[in-house]
Symmetry: C2
Subunit: 227 residues, 2 copies
DNA sequence: GTATTCAATTTTGCATTCAAAATTCAATGT
DNA sequence: ACATTGAATTTTGAATGCAAAATTGAATAC
């Protein structure tokens, strides 16, 4: 009798987690910024209870820092954190790639192929925002094709933390071209279903992304005070 | 003036997260079991607010399942979940091993060495509980020596989810002997600071752990009803 | 005897309230 | 002028209150 259409119902706190996440990742809530419960409650027109529940979750994810009796701050992006996170994401994406090669359907590979082509276009016309989003979508699609929700969840958690930095960072043209080339390789390995190779490329790719980010990070924490 | 002794203050919700986590991992709260807010509030003598905050966090970690308007259940240990989690833990531990080889202090290696010897003793006298705990401590110490809190956090998250299963599973003697041998290799690679080798061993080690667990899992979900 | 309905009860999600802690800021002393 | 005190205000952490949703269970129909 189950037509596998469970009616999706969302709680306020869940919705808030998602929205705050986006606000933080996109820098709408700046690193180091104090989070005023009152203000946010007013903005979203909710009471403090669900908001605070959401903050606890975000704190666990590392997007905000909770100090007892002193409230919540958007966690800063530190070089150390980024340096930490990237190898981990690299390991996770490498595994995802490996699994995806074994498990992805042909349709999924076709879909990723399409995203790839769109991204190549965005690259060609130098549309950074579009490129960024498609890039994200490709990595997400790979993770989905890996058929491992736990893996995906871990990746998303870490990714949320560094996506901010990547969102801010203005990638250089040469590095951008290199990244695009790496993506060509990624797609090739996936199409060939060569898991080992894809894993290696992804690990490298992430290492390069980290390299790109080094240096541009400190500036983004300016004027926020210690947390 | 800072003697780097920040007074540690904990909020109720934080304390609750930790306690519930332990209760779930150790099976005190059984897989599939309904979590009665009322009951737990009475047990810990707190109001529903901090308890609910804690439940949201645990839900995000995957230890409990929250169904809107229908409350919280301890998440079940399914074969699928275990199969999912182990490769991920494997990838994370492999990375941790790699990093630990590069970064561990000699003291840390000595400490792990000591834990290893204690564990060997526990193995010799067939003290399962002691072995289990020391095994846990060794893997934790490795993670700490990797100097990567993010990595550690991810690992702990996943580990909490499968530790339950491992806690319940009654390892066979032959597999136990094999695991002990693998740990000998782990220690050897660490002492030699051979990151690549350690990574490979750990990945294998986790794969074997998974193998051990297959089959003993379904029984543990008995009598809990669908969630 | 089994299935169906619907009112009573319980439980959940969220809002509100309250006490304790932290912050602000004006008053005071040096 | 600058630092220090401490009362007023704000903010936080947690308890309680309340309406909506879900569960229970007794009454009824078949």
């Amino acid at each position: 009798m189950n037509h596998d259409t469970a009616i999706p119902r969302r709680s306020l706190h869940d919705e808030l987690v998602e929205r705050l996440q986006r606000q933080i990742v996109e820098g709408d809530l700046a690193p180091g910024e104090k989070i005023s419960e009152k203000e946010l409650c007013a903005a979203y027109d909710v009471s403090r209870t669900p908001l605070r529940e959401a903050l606890k979750v975000l704190a666990r994810q590392g997007l905000v820092v909770l100090t007892p009796h002193r409230g919540a701050h958007v966690s800063k992006i530190t070089v150390a954190q980024i340096e930490e996170a990237f190898p981990v994401i690299g390991a996770l994406e490498a595994l995802a790639g490996e699994l995806a090669c074994a498990r992805a359907t042909d349709e999924e590979i076709a879909k990723i192929s399409l995203l790839h082509m769109k991204m190549a276009t965005a690259h060609k016309i130098r549309d950074r925002q579009k490129y960024f989003r498609l890039n994200q979508q490709i990595h997400d699609a790979l993770a989905v094709a890996a058929r491992n929700p736990s893996l995906n969840r871990m990746r998303e958690m870490l990714d949320g933390r560094v996506r901010r930095a990547r969102y801010f960072a203005n990638i250089s043209t040469t590095r951008w071209d290199q990244a695009m080339k790496e993506h060509d390789q990624i797609l090739a390995a996936l199409k060939a279903r060569d898991g080992e190779r894809l894993a290696a490329i992804l690990k490298q790719h992430l290492a390069h992304k980290l390299e790109t980010l080094r240096g541009v990070i400190e500036d983004k924490n300016a004027g926020a005070g210690a947390v």
